[in-house]
């Protein structure tokens, strides 16, 4: 019988207790160790573990630490902005000289940026203001809005999106 990656990962490591932590025990540890607001998860849960099924980008730190940094700390997105900047740099390096935008949009780094979802909006707007590029499809995909639909030029599309950002509370 084939097991899902997660199941196999748990079974292979039994009975290593730190990996198969129960919700109750986790709650107790969390209560005991949660004096620092930033540390919601117990340390045992955050220690790096060798996990073959984890995506390569997350493997260096451990999946749980990565999830923790992304979603459970007071500063959501810590670490993500650096990833965004790295992906942006890679996207530009790899595709800026393409003559076909559709191929730029099919680039892995670009798709991963879109995959960040709304958290990336202020960073994309910042990029758009400081180093204009064809970010419009990413913004359309994430926001499901298109304030530049009536724009007649690249510059006016940039302006329309920056105005949208300002109108929606982003610091642009």
């Amino acid at each position: 019988m084939r097991l899902a990656h997660e199941e196999r990962w748990l079974i292979e490591r039994e009975p290593v207790e730190t990996n198969v932590i129960t919700v109750e025990k986790w709650g107790e540890e969390a209560l005991a160790e949660n004096s620092e607001d930033e540390q919601i998860l117990p340390q045992s849960r955050m220690d790096p573990q060798p996990c073959d099924w984890i995506p390569s980008g997350a493997r260096e730190k451990s999946y749980f630490r990565w999830i923790d940094e992304c979603f459970f700390t007071r500063s959501p997105g810590v670490g993500l902005k650096e990833q965004f900047q790295e992906l942006t740099s890679r996207w530009k390096d790899d595709t800026s000289d393409f003559s076909i935008l559709a191929l730029r949009y099919a680039n892995d780094s670009f798709l991963r940026i879109v995959g960040f979802g709304p958290i990336a909006i202020p960073w994309i707007l910042e990029e758009l203001r400081n180093d204009p590029d064809w970010w419009f499809e990413a913004l359309r995909a994430i926001t499901r809005e298109d304030p530049a639909s009536d724009a007649e030029s690249f510059d006016s599309a940039v302006e329309a999106w920056l105005k949208w950002g300002s109108d929606n509370g982003y610091d642009v």
């Binding site: 800026s96 000289d97 003559s99 064809w134 724009a151």
Partner: protein, 163 residues
């Protein structure tokens, strides 16, 4: 403005430095090589599937496709016809269309200058003038020039940075 691309850009095109080039403008994402080769248009991005998209253009009636045949038809709308070679011909303007080595799609177009050199806009990056169509040899994303087109000299004056 420096007359050279950045070292990182130069490394991308292994044959560019050896065959000779100079940079003629800084990067500008507003236009691509197709617009530049068409009529030195510096405010439009020519691309298929771009109807009603801001800052973009594709000639009416030309099929939406990324294969070089669609680009040939696009250039026909402004007077170009296929020709055999890239040799300089007095009284004619020539362009060279490239197909990439990976997908076999259109990848780039360069326009011949009256002195026989070639003007290229590198996607959304810089404009350059290069001595030879071999400039991009070894760069699979641009591949090689596979089709050539020409039209009678329109008398359109060259942009200041190319004159």
């Amino acid at each position: 403005m420096s007359s050279r691309l950045t070292p990182r850009q130069e490394a991308r095109y292994p044959n560019l430095v050896a065959t000779g080039y100079s940079k003629t403008s800084d990067k500008d994402p507003k236009y691509n090589c197709v617009a530049w080769a068409a009529d030195w248009a510096a405010n439009l991005w020519w691309e298929p599937y771009s109807k009603n998209k801001p800052g973009m253009y594709w000639p009416e009636g030309v099929p939406d496709s990324f294969y070089v045949e669609a680009y040939i038809r696009a250039f026909r709308t402004i007077g170009y016809e296929l020709c055999e070679s890239s040799e300089l011909e007095v009284g004619f303007e020539k362009i060279a269309l490239f197909e990439d080595d990976i997908l076999g799609l259109f990848s780039h177009v360069a326009k011949q200058l009256p002195n026989g050199k070639w003007a290229s806009k590198l996607g959304g990056e810089d404009d350059i003038v290069h001595d030879s169509l071999e400039a991009f040899k070894g760069y699979a994303k641009y591949g090689k020039a596979t089709r050539f087109m020409k039209r009678k000299d329109t008398g359109l004056s060259l942009p200041k940075n190319l004159a």
